[in-house]
């Protein structure tokens, strides 16, 4: 007993208990993570509120300030931004109309994408359609590539000459300008987004359908229910939780989506909340922009909350047991081939056409001339200062993307950003996973869990705006990071925390606590346990998570568009700028470069392992 009575018993029992509990690895890690999450998730959210409620330097010139002779002292409390957004002559154009547009787009998108995605999932998993594997593989491609190339491809085809610039294929072939509603605005935006986001519903839906125990359905049939009744009364309720989570995912993306409405909406002044927010920031109306950001976060947050309320009780019967059940397939009979042809046509339109169109346009010498004689490789490999067939300087004298220093440095920035972010996000993910799983039920664990989910409800553009507001100036030990590469990494990692922490938690759940305890009993310290037991056992999940983050950061536009500076430009923001300037071929060539990089990334994942994509997207 004397041994123990030595150093270990100094101090009050309470203090010793506190020290001992707080020095367990999960608590140390949990505390560090908590601080990080507070700094980079909670603090930015508070900062957003603060900025929305106070004057900034640029507010001195606002009419509401000037007319009333208010002294707009920066940092002083004010409701002027709320007044401007909600109750002023600007309200209609700055808030109500963009809100209406956002709602129209989100509802249209959610409805279309969910319908297409779940029907396709059902056909692939539950029917006797031929070539299932192939369909499934092709149908998930949109998840791998960015959303906005489809919008660029749409422009290439349906552009009319109303907003200037060269006309598109449609006009080239039919010699009539396509009507405005087909070229720009809600219809093409909803179509283009749906052609991308159906893949999310498809992945989640087919994951859920594949894990339903078909015996549950057979029991229903044995009890005399018709096929339709079984579908409605058994299958549908069982997949409902997954449909809800696909709904949440699509809906929150719809609220925040930026690229597509920017390309297809801004030219005809069809603004959504996200593009309005962007233009406010660009016009130095950041206070107004932050009010809009708050609205977007509230809409997303409330929708998710209501969904959780609705599915809360039902969540428990998600039957993802992981065991492969005999999938009982329904015969489509003679419809089989008709449906197959329809699916093929759909996949061609959704997956191949955009890439094909963009590739072709990137090869056009003179924009708008779709004949074969007009093909050039200038935008890919041309030298600076080349002339086009009419003797005009190509691309204002810029070299093709594979020779262009600026673009190559952007590509390098993109890859670097994606690699760094993916690395930090996965490390953070597994650490969060460890501290949440090993400390389950404790307050710290719950707070970390909640905080790491929070960025999910911040639309990308709003999250970028928050970081812009927060890191424009120094806060205590954190320097002003605006304009640095670090802020891009920070914002990307923070925005990915909801996904990477889920991946990490899922990976940690696989590691039975006893595997770690067996090592602890043999005297292995925490670091040994982590490197010898936990890391090897979660590695494959981490690699997949890493690659998923890599792909997502690589194609990210809305999150970083407000934060890049000429020095830190990445490919996606370059595309955005080129397209705004009317350099379509350049934009398209760079887009294809991004697609090539993300596809390569995916091929690498597949090499590493069979990845279940639905795990990474919060299904």
């Amino acid at each position: 007993m004397s041994e123990i009575m030595g150093s270990e018993t100094k101090g009050s029992p309470f203090l010793r208990r506190f020290i001992r509990v707080m020095s367990t690895p999960q608590k140390i890690m949990g505390s560090i993570l908590f601080i990080l999450l507070v700094l980079f998730v909670f603090f930015p959210a508070v900062n957003l509120l603060y900025t929305a409620f106070t004057f900034s330097f640029s507010d001195k010139v606002l009419p509401q300030v000037v007319d009333r002779g208010i002294k707009a002292v920066p940092g002083k409390f004010t409701l002027v931004h709320f007044e401007r957004v909600f109750d002023s002559g600007l309200t209609k154009n700055m808030f109500l109309i963009p809100l209406l547009h956002t709602i129209i787009i989100t509802i249209g998108l959610t409805f279309t994408a969910l319908t297409i995605g779940t029907i396709l999932a059902w056909i692939v998993v539950r029917s006797d359609i031929p070539a299932k594997k192939l369909i499934a593989n092709l149908a998930t491609i949109p998840y791998i590539i960015p959303a906005w190339p489809t919008a660029l491809a749409w422009l290439t085809v349906f552009k009319n000459n109303r907003v200037g610039g060269a006309p598109g294929w449609f006009q080239y072939i039919f010699h009539v300008a396509p009507p405005n509603w087909l070229s720009y605005g809600p219809v093409p935006i909803i179509i283009c987004l749906s052609l991308h986001y159906y893949a999310y519903a498809f992945i989640i839906g087919s994951g859920a359908l594949a894990t339903i125990d078909s015996r549950l359905e057979e029991t229903g049939e044995l009890l005399g229910a018709s096929k339709w009744q079984v579908m409605r009364k058994i299958t549908f309720p069982l997949v409902l939780p997954s449909i809800f989570s696909a709904f949440i995912l699509t809906f929150s993306r719809g609220i925040g989506v930026f690229g597509t409405p920017a390309f297809l909406g801004i030219p005809v002044r069809y603004f959504t909340l996200s593009t309005q927010l962007y233009s406010n920031i660009r016009n130095n109306l950041s206070g107004d922009a932050y009010v809009i950001a708050i609205v977007m976060i509230l809409i997303t947050g409330i929708t998710i909350y209501m969904n959780i309320k609705v599915i809360g009780a039902r969540k428990s019967f998600v039957t993802i047991s992981g065991k492969g059940f005999r999938a009982k397939t329904v015969s489509l009979g003679s419809m089989k081939y008709i449906i197959l042809i329809l699916i093929i046509i759909f996949l061609i339109i959704a997956v191949f056409m955009p890439l094909y169109v963009l590739t072709w346009q990137s090869l056009m010498d003179v924009d708008g001339n779709y004949s074969f004689s007009n093909i050039t490789f200038h935008f890919w490999i041309g030298k600076a200062g080349s002339l086009d067939s009419r003797g005009i300087l190509l691309a204002e004298g810029q070299a093709g993307i594979l020779r262009n220093k600026m673009i190559l440095s952007g590509a390098w920035n993109s890859i670097k950003l994606a690699l760094f972010s993916a690395f930090f996000a996965s490390v953070l993910g597994i650490l969060i996973g460890y501290s949440i799983v090993r400390d389950r039920g404790k307050i710290l664990s719950k707070m970390n869990d909640a905080l790491s989910f929070a960025p999910y409800i911040f639309p990308g553009i709003a999250f970028g705006a928050i970081y812009l507001s927060m890191f424009a100036k120094a806060h205590g030990p954190i320097p002003a990071l605006y304009g640095t590469f670090a802020i891009l990494v920070l914002v990307s990692v923070a925005k990915h925390v909801p996904y990477s922490s889920r991946t990490g938690t899922a990976a940690m759940m696989q590691v039975n606590r006893e595997l770690e305890e067996a090592a602890e009993l043999q005297g292995a310290g925490f670091l040994t346990r982590f490197s010898k037991i936990i890391f090897p056992l979660t590695k494959s999940g981490l690699v997949a998570g890493f690659m998923l983050s890599f792909i997502t950061v690589m194609r990210e536009l809305s999150l970083v568009v407000l934060l890049v500076t000429p020095k830190t430009k990445v490919l996606t923001t370059m595309i955005y700028n080129y397209v705004q300037l009317g350099f379509h071929q350049f934009g398209d060539a760079i887009t294809m470069l991004v697609v090539a990089i993300t596809l390569t990334g995916t091929v690498i994942i597949r090499r590493f392992q069979k990845t279940d994509l639905s795990k990474g997207i919060g299904g």
């Binding site: 595997l515 305890e517 067996a518 009993l521």
Partner: protein, 361 residues
């Protein structure tokens, strides 16, 4: 008297509304093979994990080798690694990404033993466990029984003071289980290590242990040798639990006849010492099937079924509402409908208070 190896004092473990261990007191001597026996959820695993230091009890004290390793009051918690004990988990917890060799060598490598010594020790323990030649396999490539032996090998190679085993045989098929029982018993005799063994299988507990501790809802019901627990169950719960072959229970009246008191258990008269039963008018009588005898002075029962099994025969019989099971010699023959006269070996019965369930005799 042997040295005390493990002492548990007033130990409690609670999770919010669940009490897994309720004020446990237990003393285990060096060389004991003690079994924690009880139904699922009674706190066996929790007790084992508390001894190992993997679970922190809510209150109480724990001594290993007369050293205080856990005390809530004094806030002493010695880490699992320093308790010098080994644990075989219910799930085995073999590391799937390591070969058999690496699994077993893990602890030795942590202790930084030289390579040659690690190799020698691992190979020798593999030989003891009859697993030579398997060192390059991965756990998933082995049968349940082999995995189980690897788990034991991984524990004993570190030469711990105390072996803790959590239902190590529960995942094995019946035949393998019987084989492994004797192997484990041998292992215990060879090493002499104090062993705490968890099971909910009565036969396993009876055949292997030097002591059995029967638990229910986190409370120890009885501690004793297998013989004591079998012969003199401390209460109805234990009597029912240690009930293989099936224990016979009777709601028995207490009668008086000429100053002598006796008990009527299904017609069979059980004599009791005067003064043993004061104010109950009826008690619960428990008689094991093998304690019945066929005797001319017995009470008539009618055979309902006859189940010979070679060395013994089991006879089910009834008399009115009372149904009994009788275990007889294998040579005994009977048929359904036969009338038999049943008596009891002298004194081989237990009486329990109907209300409290505690043993009266």
């Amino acid at each position: 008297m042997a040295r005390e190896k493990i002492r548990i004092v007033n130990l409690c473990k609670r999770w919010r509304d669940v009490t897994a261990i309720d004020n446990m007191n237990l003393s285990i001597e060096e060389g004991d093979f003690i079994t924690l026996l009880g139904p699922s959820g009674c706190g066996k695993t929790t007790t084992l994990r508390s001894i190992a230091g993997l679970e922190e009890p809510t209150s109480g004290e724990l001594y290993l080798n007369n050293k205080l390793v856990f005390s809530k009051k004094e806030e002493i918690v010695v880490s699992p690694a320093k308790r010098n004990l080994g644990l075989v988990f219910q799930s085995y917890a073999l590391w799937p990404h390591m070969t058999v060799f690496d699994n077993i060598a893990f602890g030795l490598r942590i202790k930084k033993l030289p390579k040659s010594e690690v190799k020698m020790k691992v190979l020798s323990v593999l030989k003891d466990m009859k697993l030579e030649g398997y060192e390059e396999r991965y756990p998933q490539e082995l049968s349940g029984g082999q995995q189980q032996r690897i788990a034991i090998a991984r524990m004993i190679v570190n030469r711990p003071d105390i072996y803790l085993m959590d239902e190590p045989l529960s995942n094995l098929d019946a035949k393998l289980r019987v084989d492994m029982r004797s192997e484990l018993k041998e292992l215990h005799q060879r090493s002499g290590a104090t062993t705490v063994y968890v099971t909910h299988d009565q036969v396993e507990a009876m055949t292997m242990s030097t002591k059995i501790s029967i638990m229910k809802d986190g409370v120890i019901q009885q501690i004793g040798t297998p013989e004591e627990v079998y012969r003199r169950p401390a209460n109805l719960f234990v009597a029912e639990f240690i009930s293989n072959p099936k224990m016979n229970f009777f709601n028995a009246e207490v009668l008086s006849e000429g100053g002598n008191r006796f008990i009527n258990a299904g017609g069979i008269k059980l004599n009791i010492k005067p003064g043993l039963i004061q104010n109950q008018s009826s008690v619960k009588a428990a008689i094991r099937p093998e304690d019945f005898i066929i005797t001319d002075s017995g009470i008539e029962y009618e055979v309902t079924s006859y189940l010979p099994s070679g060395s013994t025969s089991l006879v089910y019989a009834k008399r009115g509402e009372d149904k009994i099971a009788i275990m007889l010699d294998g040579s005994y023959k009977a048929e359904a409908g036969d009338k038999i006269k049943v008596g009891i070996k002298k004194g081989l019965f237990n009486l329990y208070d109907i209300e409290t369930g505690n043993k009266i005799f």
